[in-house]
Amino acid sequence: MARPRSVAGLDPDRRLRFNARRILAVRIDEVFSFDRLVADPANVTELHDMRIACKRLRYLLETFAVAFDDDLRRFIHQAAALQDILGDIHDCDVQLPMLQQHLATLPEGSDQEMGVRALLDRSRGRRDDLYSEFVKEWRRLKMGRFRARLERALAIRP
């Protein structure tokens, strides 16, 4: 899992807001740094890393919201929605290899084999559907200028 990037210019002797801006600027950039990488549905690691980056951003927005005048709830909800879809994709990406491994242990023609094969096909189809949903949601966030609006709400200068 990708480690969070370090944040420059923090000063623990200053106010929460001063440091929160700097931390959130980096965490927002981390989420958007995956833009090109997640255009390929086969990039399982990158999709997982983007999910973690979304989680970090969401939890930090929840933590730091008190320090900002603007209501950050809509941004938190949008980050949560993206996180949820990526979470469902991740569940598939965890389960597909487990299913394949299990299938490999079953004797050919066994009574369990058919069900596991069908489940594997179903899970692959579900993963494809979820990825399409993610692409739509991600595009919606970008078209809705999520990043610019959030940075404005936080008074982060790009």
Partner: protein, 171 residues
């Protein structure tokens, strides 16, 4: 997903160190509030809530890391990461079983043995996680980790755990 607990006394104009102490202590207390339910293992959502709380705690510790000396802070962060990791293994099994149970009523009869075999396998795998989770909590207790964490946070942020008293939303 369980809603995050409010952090007591966190104000818009908070000092960074003060916010660090209040947030980390609240998130730790929040996470450990799910301990008994997680160990009981009857409601998979308790373990899930604990895992989510551990991620919130990690996010807070990452965010407030600069309020603490780097070298001494890392073991505390590593311990919290271990909680997420151990709970994550169990969670993966819970998610897999839940999904299969949901699918089972609708599948063709000749597919049922396959799904039932998988459910049994995942339940067996999940059961193997129980002693690991118990060992994790036992280690936290044996090391006096909570007492050491509280003392460490108070030393570097001035926030006294005894005065904080965080509680779940709506309580």
């Amino acid at each position: 997903m369980a809603k995050a607990w409010d952090v007591p006394g966190l104000t818009p104009d908070a000092a960074f160190r003060d916010a660090a102490g209040r947030t980390i202590l609240t998130r730790w207390t929040e996470m450990m509030s799910y301990r008994d339910g997680t160990l009981a293992g009857e409601d998979i959502e308790q373990l899930h809530a604990m895992r989510v709380a551990s991620r919130r705690l990690r996010a807070a510790m990452d965010a407030f890391e600069s309020a603490f000396p780097a070298k001494s802070f890392r073991p505390y962060l590593r311990r919290v990461k271990k909680v997420t990791g151990v709970l994550g293994n169990a969670r993966d099994h819970d998610v897999a079983v839940r999904r299969l149970l949901k699918l089972l009523p609708a599948v063709a009869p000749d597919e049922r043995p396959g799904l039932e075999g998988l459910i049994a396998k995942y339940r067996h795998g999940r059961a193997a996680e129980v002693p690991r989770i118990a060992a994790l909590f036992a280690a936290i207790d044996d090391e006096g980790f909570e007492r050491r964490l509280f003392s460490y946070v108070m030393k570097h942020t001035g926030v006294k755990p005894s005065t904080l008293k965080p509680s779940p939303p709506g309580s």
